[in-house]
């Protein structure tokens, strides 16, 4: 065998490793610092903040996770998830009108959302295939444009072309849907309240279950598949960590602790976990490999016989459908539908979240989405109080909150650009 002279690159001192780890995660680290400061100055009790975060994580992370697949397929941040959210809201209005409540109502909404979102996603994908290289701007503008059509539908077509005789939903003039729709009697908490445990119970059972899954997976890989090459220690370590969490949960159960108020909507989290598993799974399939190939180089993908346009279309359709479902989860937790406003910020907030988590327009993972959602909403929770305490005016904090939402997109994109610049110079 002929060996070429290989330069030994593995010799990297630990200091250098830490440095590059800090450098690579500069965006989340910056926001962790800001969040900690905000928490300190807000003076809020930890239990309250944790409770808020758990609720908000359940409410928002699904939509954020919907962003991952287009990024893998090289299409950047899909601001057009707004269209998915609209599909979800159209279904919510329809099902509310028909008066189907509870879990059946929720399921029907999801079933109705899917074909709508597929159609919207298909059209978005077609457009984005015509504007390669400008996907982000196109999808952002498409969101604004679609909002116009959405308003046309709900403000004008309802009651004129589409007959709807429902004084609860329709404005008093008989044309157009009301500005806010109360979901309290229909689907509010339909998913959250399926199973609701307090924090320690969740930790105990959830941790035990996850650990069991991890060990079972490792066992399956080693015993059944006899996969001995490069045995992965990750699931084992994760399993051990979850055992510890589980033990902590059991020990704290029944004890008096302020954290007892923290309620976990287990059903919703199971659903979110399922999406995480689905995302992990799909990346490892033939289709996922095609996403990654297209994402890395459309040209090479084309040369090796991949239908690039089709793959990009599939990525956007999946993203749009997931966003539709995510919006339903969001609404059932919130309990009111702001007909003309609920969907507007979805794209912007989701993109801000995943970027704070350390994703970039070319790289995104599940952890980026989860950590980003946590950090973004920590800022949302603590900043009004921190503003009030520091400057004696809650409005300043409120202002800061809005400022943060848009500012982070700019800051994190800028930081990523700067990182690339530094890398290039090395």
């Amino acid at each position: 065998m002929v060996e070429l002279n290989v330069k030994d690159k593995s010799k990297n001192p630990i200091g250098g490793k830490i440095k590059s780890a800090l450098f690579n995660n500069i965006v989340p680290i910056l926001f962790i610092i800001i969040c900690s400061l905000g928490f300190k100055f807000s003076g809020l009790p930890a239990a309250y903040v944790v409770n808020e975060l758990v609720a908000r994580l359940a409410r928002n992370s699904f939509v954020v996770l919907a962003l991952i697949i287009p990024v893998i397929a090289g299409m950047g941040m899909n601001f057009a998830i707004v269209l998915g959210a609209m599909a979800g809201q159209i279904a919510v209005v329809a099902v509310t009108h028909w008066g189907i409540v509870g879990v059946p109502g929720l399921l029907l909404i999801m079933v109705l959302t899917t074909p709508l979102a597929i159609i919207f996603g298909y059209m978005t994908g077609k457009l984005l295939n015509k504007t390669k290289g400008q996907e982000m701007v196109t999808s952002l503008m498409l969101g604004f444009f679609a909002n116009g059509l959405y308003q046309l539908l709900f403000l004008f077509l309802i009651g004129t072309i589409i007959p709807m005789n429902n004084p609860v939903l329709v404005l008093s003039g008989g044309i157009g849907i009301k500005n806010t729709i109360d979901l309290a009697g229909t689907i509010k908490y339909a998913m959250d309240n399926m199973i609701k445990w307090n924090m320690f119970k969740t930790m105990a059972y959830g941790g035990a279950f996850t650990a069991l899954c991890m060990f079972a997976y490792t066992g399956y890989k080693t015993v059944i598949e006899k996969n001995k090459i490069r045995l992965n220690s990750k699931p084992v370590i994760t399993g051990i960590i979850f055992i510890l969490i589980s033990v902590m949960g059991f020990m704290s159960m029944g004890k008096k602790s302020p954290f007892v108020i923290v309620q976990v909507p287990v059903g919703t989290f199971v659903f979110i976990t399922a999406l995480c598993l689905f995302t992990t799974f799909i990346v490892k399939t033939k289709l996922g490999q095609q996403f990654r190939t297209v994402g890395q180089s459309m040209h090479i993908a084309e040369v090796s016989g991949i239908n690039v346009n089709k793959i990009r279309l599939i990525a956007i359709v999946i993203s749009t459908v997931l966003a539709g479902w995510g919006q339903i989860i969001f609404l059932q937790n919130l309990g009111t539908l702001n007909t003309y406003g609920s969907h507007e910020q979805v794209g912007m907030f989701a993109v801000a979240s995943i970027l704070i988590g350390g994703a970039s327009v070319t790289k995104a993972s599940i952890w980026h989405a989860i950590i980003g959602t946590l950090l973004f909403h920590t800022l949302f929770v603590v900043s009004p109080y921190a503003g009030k305490n520091l400057l004696g005016n809650a409005m300043v904090g409120e202002y800061f909150r809005v400022f943060v939402a848009y500012g982070v997109i700019g800051v994190s994109l800028g930081l990523h650009a700067w990182k690339n610049l530094v890398k290039k110079k090395k």
Partner: protein
Amino acid sequence: MNHGTILEMRNIEKDYFGNKVLKGVNLTVKPGEIHALLGENGAGKSTLMNILFGMPVIHTTGGFNGEVTFNGSPVALKSPREAMDIGIGMVHQEFMLIPGFTVTENIKLNREITKHNAVSRVLGDSMKSLNMTQMEKDARKALDTLGIGIDEWAKVAGLPVGYMQFVEIAREIDKQNIKLLVFDEPTAVLTESEADTLLQAMKKIADSGIAILFITHRLDEVMSVADNITILRDGELVAALKKEETNVTQLAELMVGRKIEKMAQRDHDLGDDSNIVLKIRNLEVEMPGEEVKGIDLDIRKGEIIGLGGLAGQGKIGIANGIMGLYPATGEVELSGRQIELNNPKASLTNGLAFVSEDRRGVGLLLDSSIELNIVITAMQMKEMFLKKLAFFEQADAKHIREHALKMIEDLDIRCRGPQQLTRRLSGGNQQKVCIARALTLSPNVLFVSEPTRGIDIGAKKLVLDLLVKLNKEMGMTIIMTSSELGELRSICDRIAIITEGKVEGILSPDDSDANFGLMMAGEYKKVHGKEAV
């Protein structure tokens, strides 16, 4: 095998819009042999390969004449896909690798081995999961065949350039039905030891019965691995030789040899190094595809010096580097003054001017008038053709018009008038506008890159005559870069041949074909010993 040949191409003729690029070429490749295909740029090698692969460019320009027989049966390939299906593989000159993927993933790109899982049984094949274990085994096997110790799970991004070539080759030989493998200048980017490994690997592949068509400029490699050699020149088959019957010098001569038309008779006074106007020391330029790796060159005042050499060897990079268009390091001294590199403005204000090889991209503002094109650089750099109105500077239309008309007359630019858009001009006249702009700067040294690329023969002569006229009448020093050796030999005083980013040697235009050929192939020093330096 049928008739003992794997590929037979007979009487291949091809013309692009009446311009014959292949004039009845024959090529015969036997199974398990390494067949070298030699020729200068533009000799017709790539066209021949495009025909072999059924590239769309052939069919959209009216097809070709002649017959192709592959594996005993006549074929008419319509697309690269079909070529791949019948067992013809290509190792590309530029890498078709995805840096973020592992070696295995690249080798198995879109040919992944998959297995069923619960989801795929319901939703179809695209949901099948990847069988990484099997894929890695296959990749390992292909790499072992090549004799390369790369880890199959390493990311391509971190690999040295040389390895990437091997990954590319491994991908081809991993295909089950491969019978003929085309290597398009595979050693161009490799270091010497890497190239050796590659040649050994090629022999191994050939031993396993796969025929190899080896396109290269490096003659010593041809001599060390090839069994048979076919040489093309100007679209004609010059020779089909057995390796045993030939030697490096003969190959060089056959590759380059051509009648030199003296377009403008000049007395080639080589002069001496007493009057150096431009001194280049250790110049390195990072121009993708045309890297310059340390050039020392002295340009004498009032000469026309030619920079020749094969494509991709770095000759184009020299002018681009000195003019600050690509990142460069080293020292450039113009009449004793250092010139700041990486700063186009510094180069321009110091009396250097450049007529770019990329006429339509860098050279011209295609949608602006001829007169604006002529004066724009002078307006920006020297604040000529401007008049001041309080705080504003305005273009001096009258002055510009006068100058443009004079240039149009002097250089004989055929146009409807100074306001015509340059996009509508013919190639030769566009080139003259570029030269007019460079002249407006009244430079000390003029760089001209590929001045005759893409213009017809009559216009070529006019452009070359113009350069000679500028040199004779205005005493302008001209550094001319060109891929056409004949053209350099017709007007230059000296010709420096650039090979692998360095000056291989400086020749007089009257030197023998063999010397030019050897230098371009990088063999000159080996054959002639130290005297050449």
